[in-house]
């Protein structure tokens, strides 16, 4: 649960000021971006996601590094991605 997974913002959801649709390793899920209040976020930006919340905006390079690091974690990362796949944030 301590992992921060990179995701690419697909769309900021117009009907809820705190939600965004992101692509996390090919899976599209809604996340909360309320902790990045005041940060300029647009489709195509990368964020580090922790328990369904964007923690920080990062560049594509940092996102690639974080992802590659997570891939070395084996089961822990597989479990986390499975948890993300079952997530449905409103």
């Amino acid at each position: 649960m301590c992992l921060a997974i990179p995701g690419e913002i697909v769309e900021l959801l117009a009907d809820n000021d705190q939600l965004a649709l992101v692509d996390v390793v090919g899976v599209k899920r809604r996340i909360n971006v309320g902790l990045l209040d005041g940060v300029d976020l647009r489709a195509g930006d990368w964020v580090l996601i922790h328990v369904g919340f964007a923690m920080s905006k990062v560049d594509e390079r940092e996102a690639a590094e974080a992802l590659s690091m997570l891939e070395t974690m084996g089961q822990a990362f597989t479990d986390e991605l499975q948890a993300v796949a079952h997530s449905s944030i409103e």
């Binding site: 649960m1 301590c2 909360n32 369904g52 919340f53 923690m55 560049d59 084996g74």
Partner: protein, 373 residues
């Protein structure tokens, strides 16, 4: 993946290792503690210690939130979950943490409704979908995770969702570091500061460590070269007679942290006078409860919680491992009575626990070095 290669480049690692070695004062032994479970993982996964001279010892600290949950807090939550009207929700890592009366997995087998969630917001959705049930979120984590719980509770309040509450076990990193600095068991020279926690709290809260205790602290990223670079920055401080807080992970961590996150933390939570940590005992002002303004969402107030206190198992030496006094493999039950499949102690449960990280990767790192020699 062209970006990544340079962060794992063995030649660069060798070069940094040589520069670090050159900074060592002859005859001096340096103990550097990393307080973040993610760093512990990288150290074992990539054999970071192998690039360092023998005089520099990396010591693992209490930075795994699953590992510091005392058994009584598991038993208390099970007591709530055994009520027929309750759905208890938690992160997957918590399911196998042993309490005095078994784990959440055992409680589920006895009929309790305990569900794994990815996010506290998933717990809130379950509350929405089950208006006739009480949905309790078992919150764990340092300052990295606590703002997520806080925003979730704020949303619950705004939406008027009454059947949702939080069993709060959020802990704060600074008092834990203070407790370790005050511990007579251990002489530390410097700290590698946590990555994700510092994203929230920034670098300022660590300044007393450098100023009052004379120990450098460098906030670090999670790549093997990030950690080597941080050790290099610490050793440079020693060589130049400095003791400061520095930020190696500037590409993510801001000096002042995340002000929005800090604001919601201050709004939703209040400091507990003390909190019991597994292995470390009671530490004052080291954990969060719901603030009075959000008291309606406090599961401990909503349900009669037994307030169970259970001594840590005698055979288990998680406390010594969490304080860095023992290495995982020096624990009496490591890898024999205590394994990731059948954990006795919490350090073996979470993949970020020092014992599980060493069990899964440590031996491989040693083999790899052996092959290279």
């Amino acid at each position: 993946m062209r970006f990544v290669d340079e962060f794992r480049d063995p030649d660069l690692a060798e070069m940094l290792g040589a520069r670090i070695t050159a900074l060592c004062e002859p005859g001096r032994h340096y103990k550097i503690m990393e307080v973040c479970g993610g760093h512990t993982h990288t150290i074992y996964r990539y054999g970071v210690q192998d690039y360092l001279p023998d005089d520099i010892e990396l010591v693992h600290g209490p930075g795994c939130p699953v590992c510091v949950i005392p058994m009584g807090r598991v038993d208390d939550a099970i007591a709530i979950a055994e009520r027929a009207d309750v759905i208890l929700t938690c992160f997957g890592d918590m399911m196998r943490v042993p309490g005095g009366n078994g784990s959440f997995v055992d409680a589920t087998a006895r009929g309790a409704d305990i569900r794994m969630v990815y996010s506290p917001l998933d717990a809130l959705r379950i509350a929405r979908q089950n208006p006739d049930r009480e949905v309790v979120f078992y919150a764990i984590g340092f300052e990295t995770t606590a703002p997520s719980t806080a925003l979730t509770v704020m949303r619950a309040k705004a939406a008027g969702i009454r059947n949702f509450s939080v069993f709060c076990n959020h802990v704060t990193i600074i008092p834990a570091i203070k407790a370790i600095l005050d511990s007579p068991d251990l002489r530390l020279d410097a700290f590698i500061g946590p990555g994700h926690v510092s994203t929230v709290i920034g670098c300022r809260p660590y300044e007393f460590i450098a100023r009052d205790h004379g120990k450098p602290l460098v906030c670090a990223g999670f790549e093997p070269l990030d950690l080597l670079q941080s050790v290099f920055m610490i050793m440079t401080q020693f060589a130049e007679g400095r003791s400061e807080v520095e930020n190696q992970y500037g590409r993510v961590v801001r000096w002042d942290g995340n002000l929005t996150a800090l604001k919601v933390l201050a709004d939703v939570f209040a400091l507990r006078p003390y909190f019991e940590w597994r292995g470390l005992g009671s530490i004052s002002h080291s954990a969060l409860r719901m603030s009075d303004r959000y008291g309606d969402f406090d599961a401990e107030l909503r349900f009669k919680v037994p307030g169970v206190r259970v001594a840590d198992p005698k055979a288990c030496q998680c406390g010594e491992v969490l304080k860095g006094v023992l290495k995982p493999w020096e624990c009496k039950v490591f890898g024999t009575a205590c394994t990731p499949e059948m954990p006795i102690g919490t350090c073996m449960v979470s993949s970020e626990g020092a014992c599980a990280a060493y069990y899964n990767f440590g031996q491989y790192a040693k083999q790899r070095v052996h092959l290279e020699v």
